[in-house]
């Protein structure tokens, strides 16, 4: 009697065990990511709200509860608004050329080249260089005695200023955008390349038979086919590009002892650099304000990412109307299929 119940109990237990295995194990398998995310991602984000609502000294820690004072303080700082403008200016200046260059490089790499892997690895080399290292090299290039400035002076451009890239707001943005383009173009080109290689070769063959040139094929076949990838790249570029920091901080030689605070007139002060200066710079007691900047800026980024998402999606769906070339290519394809 007792042994019988023990047996059923044992069966019940092992059945339970396998049921738990099915129900619980998957969660255990994925838990490392969520645990580390909770500790290193979620906790700081939530804690940041707490910091943003208090006076906060770097060393002494939490001070008085101040409610939304930190937010109003930040919104009243002219430097905050300048930083936002600079961030967008640098973002736009780096995004557009980067997209175009990456597409061209990817299209070239997509051709039948000799030593393919060599070229593909080659475009990734700038990405391997530390951002700070490349920024320091570029700040020499754009410096008063660097490569570009003496040339510009010779041509009579900006000859009234010694160091136009460290003085003129727009030029400093161009210089920083150049560093970003240098670093990220190769990376994006490889993503585009991966997408381009999934485009069926038949379409190109058909287009060639129809007499479409390389350029025509690029615009009518390649670009429409890799649209989803373009949306992905634009979204990640938006998030990454708005957070520009390293290049701006090292631009005037911080790290070797320069100020690294975004220029005397805040010409190249970006939002993240402003946050850094508040929380970790000259001021000891502005951690709360820095946290408030982080939240305000997060809202801005989310807004623009959503905007970007809807705009790019609208573009990619509205062009479902086939172009003449793609219609012809499709026709060819189907004819080809029929003759087989």
């Amino acid at each position: 009697m007792t042994s019988q119940t023990a047996a059923t109990r044992r069966i019940g237990f092992s059945r339970n065990l396998s049921r738990w295995d099915i129900k619980v194990s998957p969660y255990l398998y994925i838990s490392p990511f969520f645990l580390s995310f909770a500790i290193f991602g979620l906790f700081p984000i939530v804690f940041n709200i707490w910091v943003a609502l208090h006076d906060w000294d770097r060393r002494l820690g939490q001070g008085d509860f101040v409610g939304l004072d930190n937010f109003t303080w930040v919104l009243n700082q002219p430097a905050f608004w300048t930083a936002l403008q600079n961030t967008f200016s640098i973002f736009v200046l780096s995004l557009v050329p980067q997209l175009i260059l990456a597409l061209i490089i990817a299209a070239i790499l997509d051709q039948n080249l000799r030593t393919k892997t060599f070229w593909r690895m080659g475009v990734l080399v700038p990405f391997v260089v530390m951002p700070v290292a490349s920024a320091m090299i570029f700040s020499q290039v754009f410096g008063q005695f660097g490569l570009v400035t003496p040339l510009m002076h010779e041509l009579g451009w900006f000859s009234d200023v010694d160091s136009p890239f460290f003085h003129n707001r727009f030029l400093s943005h161009v210089a920083i955008a150049t560093m970003i383009i240098f670093r990220w173009t190769g990376y994006n080109a490889l993503i585009f390349l991966a997408a381009m290689q999934t485009v069926p070769r038949d379409m190109y063959e058909a287009a060639t038979i129809d007499g479409a040139g390389r350029a025509r094929q690029f615009f009518s076949i390649t670009i429409p086919s890799i649209r989803p990838t373009m949306i992905f790249v634009v979204l990640t570029m938006t998030i990454g590009g708005l957070q520009v920091f390293d290049e701006a901080r090292v631009f005037d030689g911080a790290g070797t002892g320069g100020t690294g605070q975004g220029g005397a007139d805040n010409q190249w002060l970006t939002t993240v650099l402003y946050l850094f200066n508040l929380g970790f710079g000259d001021w000891q007691d502005r951690m709360g304000q820095a946290a408030a900047v982080a939240w305000l800026f997060a809202a801005v980024i989310i807004f623009f990412t959503l905007l970007n998402f809807f705009v790019t999606r609208a573009i990619s769906t509205s062009t479902s109307k086939p172009t003449r070339a793609s219609r012809l290519a499709a026709k060819r394809l189907s004819e080809k299929g029929r003759t087989r």
């Binding site: 398998y29 490392p32 990511f33 645990l35 580390s36 500790i39 290193f40 000294d57 770097r58 060393r59 002494l60 303080w73 009243n76 700082q77 002219p78 430097a79 320091m136 700040s139 020499q140 410096g143 008063q144 005695f145 660097g146 009234d160 200023v161 010694d162 160091s163 460290f166 003085h167 631009f251 005037d252 030689g253 911080a254 790290g255 070797t256 002892g257 320069g258 100020t259 605070q261 005397a264 007139d265 970790f280 710079g281 000259d282 001021w283 000891q284 007691d285």
Partner: protein
């Protein structure tokens, strides 16, 4: 395929566990520790003569590991973050620069109180290195202010180029900032080069000479910048000169600074003793740099550093011993010979190795003797003024104003107005 996936999963778990564990440990170290450790770590951005460390190892049996930083700012960042995380990642002994001393001493308990050493330093160095009555740092070097100049450019401009003549040219013993800048105007007329690398550096030196530049020493509160007449006067004086083009607008640490030396773009540089080595490095290969024997407004002090022992360290007793050893007069002499830092130790200042060693870069001048003389003539001003928690931030606002004039984006009056507006927006004086 499956094993590979397993391996990846395992690595991921291992990595995240390691991350979690390392996040929890660290910072657990409690102060104290009378035992003799095997090694001590020192964080510094200046070179320590290796034979000095060997001597310490011979005497005590403790090895010394140097955590070397490229510049003071990097050392500052590491120290700042270490203190904020209860001592994680700190070395046993840290070199602390005067410019960020106040910040690091925000919580005096972070630092071990050091036993007094009688008659080792000039009095004011001990005062600077103390919080109240407690000594928190042993002085290493001080930064008596001097002016280095390029005698080649002076000669080319047809102006006095030998040290005595140059000293007279900027106003001699009674030189003021006004006479120094007037000399600059005269130089600018005769030369294509700028008079000074940056007037923002010059105003920083002048601010260092004020007894209480930005804050009330009694309360620690910031003074309204708009009503700060002393600073406004300095600002207008240096701003006007910058507007007239006496400055190249490239200060120490700027990306263009080294290249500017090589292109001989300026004739003078404000040079605290510790900067002599930095200039020799940046102007390497150039002949003709000299040091003048007088400083505007009677001289002063800029920077200089201390060795301090974080209380979170495991071997604080041994670290105090090392701090004592590294700030002995003998150690200070060998530091001077290696890097040019001028000693804060009385015996070291008198030492013939300091006062009589010819500096090769500066044309064989005995820089030690020159700085000793300048430190003496600076008198009380050498101790520097009051620095509260907001000193560094406000100083940056003022220096940025001068930089805007240098780059031509604003005139002196407009630049002062916008610096004041930025200060007001901070709400420090509400």
């Amino acid at each position: 395929m499956r094993t590979k996936r397993k391996a990846i999963a395992f690595t991921a778990i291992a990595a995240s566990t390691a991350l979690i564990l390392s996040g929890c440990s660290g910072g657990g170290a409690e102060g104290g520790g009378g035992e003799t450790p095997e090694t001590l770590t020192v964080a510094t951005w200046v070179d320590i003569p290796p034979e000095l460390l060997e001597q310490f190892t011979d005497e005590t049996g403790i090895k010394v590991e140097v955590n070397s930083f490229a510049d003071g700012a990097s050392a500052q960042t590491v120290l700042r973050n270490g203190l904020a995380s209860d001592g994680a990642g700190l070395s046993d002994l840290h070199l602390v620069e005067l410019d960020w001393w106040t910040e690091m001493m925000a919580l005096p308990e972070d630092w071990v109180t050091l036993p007094a050493v009688e008659d080792r330093w000039v009095d004011w160095k001990v005062t600077q290195g103390s919080v109240g009555d407690e000594i928190k740092g042993y002085g290493m070097d001080i930064g008596p202010l001097a002016i280095a100049y390029d005698s080649t450019l002076m000669e080319a401009a047809g102006l006095p180029s030998d040290p005595e003549g140059f000293t007279e040219f900027i106003g001699g013993e009674d030189a003021t900032w006004e006479s120094f800048l007037d000399a600059g105007r005269q130089f600018s007329e005769a030369s294509d080069a700028a008079w000074i690398d940056s007037t923002s550096t010059a105003i920083q030196a002048a601010i260092n000479q004020l007894p209480a530049a930005f804050e009330d020493p009694d309360t620690g509160d910031a003074l309204p910048l708009a009503e700060n007449d002393d600073v406004e006067e300095l600002f207008t004086m240096f701003g006007d000169a910058a507007e007239e083009g006496v400055s190249a607008g490239v200060g120490i640490g700027h990306a263009d600074w080294g290249a500017g030396f090589q292109a001989r773009r300026w004739a003078t540089v404000i040079t605290p003793a510790w900067a002599t080595g930095i200039i020799a490095e940046n102007a390497a290969g150039l002949e003709g740099w000299r040091i003048a024997n007088a400083f505007p407004d009677g001289g002063g002090n800029w920077g200089g550093s201390f060795f301090a022992v974080p209380a979170a360290g495991e071997h604080t007793d041994a670290a105090v011993e090392l701090a004592d050893f590294l700030t002995s007069p003998e150690a200070a002499v060998s530091m001077f010979l290696l890097n040019g830092q001028f000693p804060s130790q009385l015996d070291a200042m008198q030492d013939p190795a300091v006062s009589e060693t010819a500096n090769e870069f500066f044309g064989g001048q005995e820089t030690g003797a020159i700085y000793a003389g300048l430190a003496e003539s600076a008198g009380d001003k050498a101790a520097g003024g009051y620095r509260g928690v907001n000193f560094a931030g406000i100083q940056t606002l003022v220096m940025d104003g001068i930089r805007r004039i240098e780059s031509g984006s604003e005139d002196a009056a407009a630049a002062w107005a916008s610096s004041v507006a930025e200060f007001d927006a901070l709400g420090l004086t509400d």
